[in-house]
């Protein structure tokens, strides 16, 4: 049963797809991680049971992390200053020296690893990574971004900008195109916490636009079948869990709040407003297929005063739209039509009349959202290989980049674009606000 539900057990670190993080010093001291003479690791933990992890499934990453930082961090006088007055480079030099010393000591005692860093056990692949402490691992992930992103006044220091970006909590409802935007946001901001919600599972037809999707996520292993010989019994992988899993293999220190059942009326308040240790979100990225939910979450986001960003990939167009509910609690749900009209158009989509769908989309996203081959598809012109809305892989990718940048700008205080909307036309190679 556990294996069948492997993609639906995000609450348990070390089960399903959620990695298990273990402080190296504690793991050594408590024999949770114990090296045999040949280097094989004995991992004993209540979440994963007892596992023997051979050398080929161990990936020590710390030395590589320090080497890479050494190459990247500036030695010059303009190295960013931290709160205690030291430069980032000075701090790095001290930490690297400390690590070297620990390594020497460990080697002299015949140990494989010093008490340093964090073990990350990936239960899906059964690989044990050893990564640098949080600050250094995460620093390496943003070093190349340098100080390209600044606040509108250009007044914030590198450290202050990092603090803002790291502290922002963005919730992603729908992680197909939304997964691309998540990736853009993670690369740009490397936040400490993020929320993802999607009730669907990964499908091969998503791969043209699914960030980091691969065969690993198309189906669960044969072990998850009730009858291993039943070819129709194909347990699938949750989209929300897969994207969190993949992202955590980049930065295992990110705290993911994973909603595998997607956004529902039962969980929307927690998703938006937080609960207990779960923070409220600052921005909602809405990328769901369900038309009712698209409207519903906007109603709820408005009630919570949470801004909503949506990137719609209409054919070759990446269509960016903000609902600025934080600044304007009375803002309409759609674009340029009142809420009543929007709801009427939503109701009309349920009658089976396909002409009502574009009318609703235009009410939600604004006029002139469509064009070119996408409009042809809507009008039933020419060949149509797919029954679902056509989606270009590259447009989805571009939407991710645009969305990630937009979120970072928003968090740093840049105002939304005029009219809260921009259409990037990748076919015409133009952009229109």
């Amino acid at each position: 049963m556990e294996e069948r539900d492997a993609s639906t057990t995000w609450g348990v670190p070390g089960a399903g797809l959620r990695p298990l993080l273990l402080d190296a010093a504690s793991a050594h001291a408590s024999n949770v991680v114990q090296y045999e003479d040949d280097g094989t690791v004995q991992l004993r933990h209540e979440a994963v049971g007892e596992r023997r992890i051979p050398l080929r499934r161990q990936v020590p990453c710390i030395r590589a992390t320090f080497d890479d930082l050494n190459k990247a961090l500036s030695r010059l006088a303009n190295s960013p200053r931290l709160a205690d007055g030291r430069s980032l480079r000075e701090l790095y030099d001290e930490e690297a020296a400390r690590y070297d010393e620990l390594c020497v000591n460990a080697a002299s005692e015949g140990r494989f690893e010093p008490d340093y860093g964090t073990y990350v056990f990936d239960p899906r692949e059964e690989v044990l990574y050893l990564v640098a402490p949080k600050m250094w691992h995460r620093l390496a992930l943003v070093t190349s971004n340098s100080k390209l992103l600044v606040d509108p006044a250009g007044a914030l220091s590198w450290a202050q900008i990092r603090e803002r970006l790291e502290g922002a909590v963005v919730g992603f409802a729908g992680v197909s195109v939304g997964g691309n935007i998540l990736e853009g946001w993670l690369r740009e901001a490397r936040p400490q916490q993020v929320k993802v919600a999607d009730p669907d599972w990964v499908e091969l037809t998503n791969f043209n636009r699914g960030e980091r999707m691969s065969m690993r996520h198309l189906a669960q292993s044969r072990a998850a079948r009730f009858d291993p010989r039943n070819p129709y019994d194909v347990p699938r992988v949750s989209k929300a869990a897969y994207i969190a899993h993949e992202s955590l293999l980049v930065d295992p220190y990110t705290e993911f709040f994973v909603y595998e059942q997607g956004i529902t009326r039962d969980c929307i308040d927690r998703f938006l407003g937080g609960e207990g240790d779960e923070p409220k979100i600052d921005v909602l990225v809405e990328e769901m297929d369900d038309l009712d939910l698209k409207v519903y979450v906007r109603e709820q986001a408005r009630r919570h005063g949470v801004d909503v960003l949506m990137l719609s990939d209409f054919g070759h167009r990446a269509h960016l739209m903000w609902n600025p509910f934080r600044a304007d609690p009375q803002a309409i749900l759609g674009h340029a039509v009142g809420d009543e009209e929007l709801l009427a158009k939503l109701a009309a989509t349920k009658t089976g009349d396909r002409s009502k769908l574009p009318e609703f989309i235009e009410a939600l996203c604004g006029e002139a959202s469509f064009g070119g081959p996408f409009k042809d598809w809507l009008e039933g012109v020419g060949e149509q290989p797919t029954g679902s809305l056509p989606q270009s892989g590259a447009t989805a990718m571009a939407s991710g980049a645009i969305g990630g940048k937009e979120l970072a700008l928003h968090v740093l205080g840049h105002p939304p674009p005029p009219g809260n909307r921009i259409i990037y036309n990748l076919l015409d190679r133009s952009a229109k606000a």
């Binding site: 009858d227 129709y232 349920k350 009658t351 089976g352 029954g387």
Partner: protein
């Protein structure tokens, strides 16, 4: 047969979900007082009329594609009602074994049993010996009619508890193929449904309420519907039974039962029959609706059978219909999803998901319409009672 069934039906204003016209007369059936039927088992009164009245409730039962394959033989001398399957109404493409037709007749039996119980009669169902081959769609060879079961009526013990009024529930029951509100089922109701199933050996009820499994079922319902629609034979057959809203037929399913407006319903009817071209997104949207419906359910029920034979199909139908009426009593509507049981891939996948080797025979979802207006969609039509009485 000379039965005055006019007096079975009420005249006057109809409920808002019962359209005017003879195809919907069946839903206006009157609730005769107990005294009218009390003598059935004792040879008192006009047994033929009494039996026909009970058969009229059998006519209200749901049947696959609303094909109404049941036929009734009145046995006044034995105080019995024999229920037959007319194989000319078994769907050749989507029901090649006759499984869904037999499940339908099981629903008919349940209505007859429960209607009898409502008026204080005791009803005993005698299932006939059934050979699988004889239930297949009629191909011109042999007898198109197959007797499946006989219901024997007798007077109930007068000291027993007052009967439940099932007939009123039968009049109100209909398939509501809409998005539901995900409201949880009360525990006591779940226990009652489990008990209703457990009373029949060889049947299992899986009530699925968790999101991931409902998602799974939704996706596979969509797969099943997409499979049906994309196979020419299936699509033509569905088009034959999925009718325009203004179609005068007394069988089949009108588009409005699926929430389709006049023109989309006409397009689907003609498009599925191959008389006009539907666009891929139209058929995909149709399949998607089933997916959304599953995911929105308070629970999805799966009746599994230990043996894939007619006796179990019949019993599954009887149990399903009782469950549907119990749910309605508690304010929950239901919709059946035959595709997931009849298309091989989703059926096999469902077994894996349910961790069972038994065959899913009936899949249904239950809940309350998230949009109350959806609960007011019209009932399906029914043919006149006389047309389904044999002899």
């Amino acid at each position: 047969m000379d039965i005055d069934d006019e007096r079975f039906y009420e005249r006057g204003p109809r409920p808002s979900d019962v359209p005017e016209g003879t195809p919907w007369d069946a839903w206006t059936i009157a609730l005769w007082p107990v005294e009218e039927l009390a003598g059935l088992g004792a040879g008192e009164g006009d047994a033929e009329t009494q039996l026909a009245y009970l058969a009229a409730f059998g006519l209200l039962a749901p049947t696959t594609h609303n094909t109404v394959p049941q036929r009734f033989e009145l046995l006044p001398d034995d105080a019995g009602l024999r229920v037959w399957l007319d194989r000319r109404d078994v769907l050749a493409d989507s029901d090649p074994t006759g499984r869904q037709a037999v499940v339908s007749v099981g629903c008919v039996l349940a209505n007859v049993e429960l209607a009898a119980q409502s008026v204080g009669l005791s009803a005993r169902v005698e299932t006939h010996e059934l050979a699988g081959e004889s239930l297949r769609p009629y191909d011109g060879e042999g007898d198109p009619l197959v007797g499946l079961a006989t219901v024997h009526f007798s007077s109930a013990d007068p000291s027993s508890a007052p009967p439940t009024e099932w007939r009123e529930l039968m009049r109100r029951r209909k398939m509501v193929r809409a998005e539901y509100d995900r409201a949880p089922l009360p525990d006591a109701l779940v226990e009652e449904l489990d008990a209703a199933t457990a009373a029949h050996e060889g049947l299992g009820l899986h009530l699925i309420t968790d999101g991931p499994t409902k998602l799974f079922l939704g996706k596979f319902q969509e797969l099943a519907d997409a499979t049906v629609i994309n196979r020419e034979g299936f699509a033509r057959e569905l088009g034959h039974w999925l009718l325009a809203n203004d179609d005068p037929s007394d069988r089949g399913m009108r588009g409005w039962e699926f929430g389709l407006a006049l023109e989309p319903a006409r397009r689907f009817h003609l498009g599925l029959k191959g008389e006009l071209s539907l666009l891929p997104d139209e058929t995909a949207g149709f399949a998607k609706a089933g997916n959304i419906g599953m995911r929105s359910a308070s629970a999805v029920g799966v009746l599994t059978a230990a043996a894939d034979d007619a006796e179990h199909w019949l019993t599954a139908g009887r149990v399903y219909q009782r469950i549907a009426l119990v749910l309605l009593r508690e304010g929950f509507v239901a919709a059946m999803h035959a595709g997931i049981t009849e298309v091989t891939a989703p059926n096999m996948a469902l077994r894996g998901r349910l961790r069972t080797r038994s065959r899913p025979v009936v899949v249904f979802r239950t809940g309350r319409p998230v949009h109350p207006a959806d609960g007011q969609r019209p009932h399906a039509s029914r043919p006149p009672l006389a047309s389904v009485l044999l002899g």
